[in-house]
């Protein structure tokens, strides 16, 4: 059966679930009385338990980073380009852990889960979680798996923020932090986009104050709009021009003189919005955007990022993409600068790529070369 999958894929994977009975304290002052995390692992943990890599997902990602859940799956995990035998995150050498974060909608405890204290779904009562809360929950998963120190923590975008938080909160548990297409905090513009996305969901009549499941519905229009907006920020102007241009859609290139779809880009965005609704939960989307907005590790240190990073022990690889305007290279340079201030080990690569923010998920050779070279060094260092 496994020979139906590409040779450089981890192939068939089965998600695992761990239930945590100890309450998780949260930055909001609230706590989760109990929770579960769903996760996948690829590769083998070595005898020294030194070859583990944590993969942290971004806004709409989940634990399914690589491989297939069934031989009939149309698509592999979200980071198949990077994880697998012989790939940059080489599963012949590393033991890879990828989980769905708390508040998610792919199996870990989230708004659609039952609140054990009420016997009903959390819905809008699910506590607002932060990047640091996620990292705390991930550290407990590491304990369960017997991983004292990650060879590397790796992520893009919101995933990279978790990696940065790991290096700050657990300096002796991270050897290398790989931060891809990220920022040390959101800009006003970033927050503004998130707010419009949230308003799209909150103002959908089917939202029902977050109790839509009880009403047997979901805020389809709002969530689809939020996703459409997000997608615009994931692509560069050039990438959109190359992908769609002003290509007319349908009827022999004639304008419809109506508010129907005239251009390919409209069709694409509608499709992205609608297919997202099938797999994602609106309350989770609200939570994820809030976690992004709240992320600001320098805030506790008088807004001095160098001070926030003063005690990190990890070595860093920071990667940005020239056409990414959501988290532009200058945002990555802020992190690099703060690390240089503290004489930390840091390498920075700015990948020339036209794809925009989405580039971090794409198999861009120059990008994969950097990751591969870096992680080969890591593998040698930890004896993987």
């Amino acid at each position: 059966m496994s020979n139906t999958f590409p040779a450089d894929s981890v192939g068939l994977v089965v998600p695992k679930t761990h239930h945590f009975h100890e309450p998780l304290p949260l930055d909001s002052g609230r706590e989760l009385p109990e929770y579960q995390l769903v996760y996948e692992t690829y590769g083998e943990l070595n005898q020294d338990r030194s070859n583990a890599i944590l993969v942290c997902h971004a806004l709409s990602g989940d634990h399914h980073a690589a491989g297939y859940h069934s031989p009939t799956d149309r698509k592999p995990g979200w980071w198949e380009s990077c994880i697998g035998p012989g790939k940059p995150i080489d599963t012949n050498r590393f033991f890879v852990v990828s989980l769905n974060n708390i508040g998610g909608c792919s199996g870990s405890t989230g708004p659609a889960s039952i609140n054990p204290r009420t016997g009903e779904r959390y819905g809008p009562d699910f506590p607002i979680v932060t990047v640091a809360d996620w990292v705390r929950s991930q550290a407990r998963l590491a304990d369960v798996l017997g991983i004292d120190c990650w060879a590397a923590v790796v992520g893009g975008s919101l995933g990279a923020m978790q990696c940065l938080q790991w290096a700050i909160d657990y300096p002796d548990r991270v050897r290398h932090a790989l931060l891809i297409a990220t920022a040390p905090k959101l800009s006003a513009q970033n927050i503004a986009f998130n707010e419009v996305a949230r308003q799209a969901i909150l103002s959908d009549p089917d939202f029902h104050d977050g109790r839509y499941l009880e009403h047997g519905t979901v805020p389809r229009r709002g969530l689809a709009l939020a996703r459409m907006l997000g997608h615009i920020t994931y692509l560069s102007d050039d990438a959109m021009r190359a992908k769609f241009g002003r290509e007319p859609r349908g009827t022999a290139g004639k304008l419809s003189f109506s508010f129907d779809i005239d251009f390919e880009v409209e069709s694409y965005l509608r499709y992205q919005g609608q297919s997202f609704v099938e797999r994602f939960d609106a309350n989770t989307y609200l939570l994820m955007t809030k976690a992004l907005d709240y992320f600001d590790p320098a805030a506790k240190h008088n807004h001095d990022l160098s001070a926030a990073l003063a005690h990190v022990q990890a070595s860093f690889l920071v990667v940005s993409f020239t056409s990414d305007w959501r988290f532009a290279p200058s945002r990555s340079r802020e992190i690099v600068r703060a690390l240089l201030d503290g004489d930390k080990d840091v390498t920075y690569a700015e990948i020339d790529a036209p794809h925009g923010h989405d580039a971090f998920l794409l198999p861009i050779p120059a990008y994969l070369d950097v990751l591969q070279a870096y992680l080969e060094q890591v593998a040698e260092e930890v004896g993987a």
Binding site: S315, L317, R333, V336, R337, L340, D341, D343, D345, V346, T347, Y348, A349, E350, I351, D352, A366, D369, V370, A373, Y374, E376, Q377
Partner: protein, 201 residues
């Protein structure tokens, strides 16, 4: 490890063990790798070329992908013992600004560059009337990255003008070997110039 290029070997002798070094235009990171392994030096390389960035990573050198023409604002004053720039000075847009930046960031600067006063270079221009090409200057005039060529005397004049004290000078041939006779008339006989310098108090 493989033998270090002769000019890099000289630089490594100039650098105190255990010091902090910033290498501008560090190429594949060979110098920093050598300094890290043999002299206990720490620091970073700056490099613009993606293939060289990957080579640095493979060499275990911390490299920051940077366009030197965009300046060195990410670095604090006096954050390095040495700022090194080998065979790069002649390829940047504003060499004079970069030199003063080197001494803002570092205690001492070290540069190497091809000497445009080398006798063969002079002869080619004087006798043939063509832009010179040589072992150290292998490019045609229209596709050369070397846009700011200078002679030893030019460089030393700039140092005087900028209040920079030259601590050491060597000249090499294009294979980076030191020829004893070159010292007699360095601006005529030296093909590659090497300088170590600091701010005059």
């Amino acid at each position: 490890m493989s033998e270090l290029r002769a000019d890099l070997a000289i630089i490594s002798e100039w650098i105190e063990p255990g010091s902090r070094v910033l290498d501008l235009g560090c190429g594949d990171g060979a110098l920093l790798k050598y300094l890290q392994e043999e002299r206990g030096v720490s620091g970073y390389g700056l490099e613009i070329d993606p293939a060289n960035v990957v080579a640095c990573i493979r060499n275990g050198v911390d490299v920051i992908q940077t366009d030197l023409d965009a300046g060195l604002n990410d670095f604090d004053p006096d954050s390095f013992d040495y700022v090194v720039m080998t065979h790069t000075l002649q390829a940047v847009s504003y060499p004079h600004r970069l030199i003063s930046e080197m001494l803002r960031i570092g205690r001492q600067g070290i540069v190497t560059f091809p000497n445009f006063g080398y006798w063969r270079v002079r002869l080619q221009l004087a006798l043939k009337g063509r832009m010179p090409m040589s072992g150290a200057l292998p490019h045609k005039w229209y596709d050369t990255p070397n846009i700011r060529l200078c002679t030893l005397r030019d460089f030393e004049a700039l140092c005087r003008q900028q209040g920079i004290r030259i601590l050491e000078r060597r000249v090499l041939d294009h294979a980076h070997h030191e020829q004893a006779f070159s010292r007699l008339l360095p601006n005529l006989l030296g093909e590659i110039a090497m300088y170590r310098f600091e701010r005059a108090a």
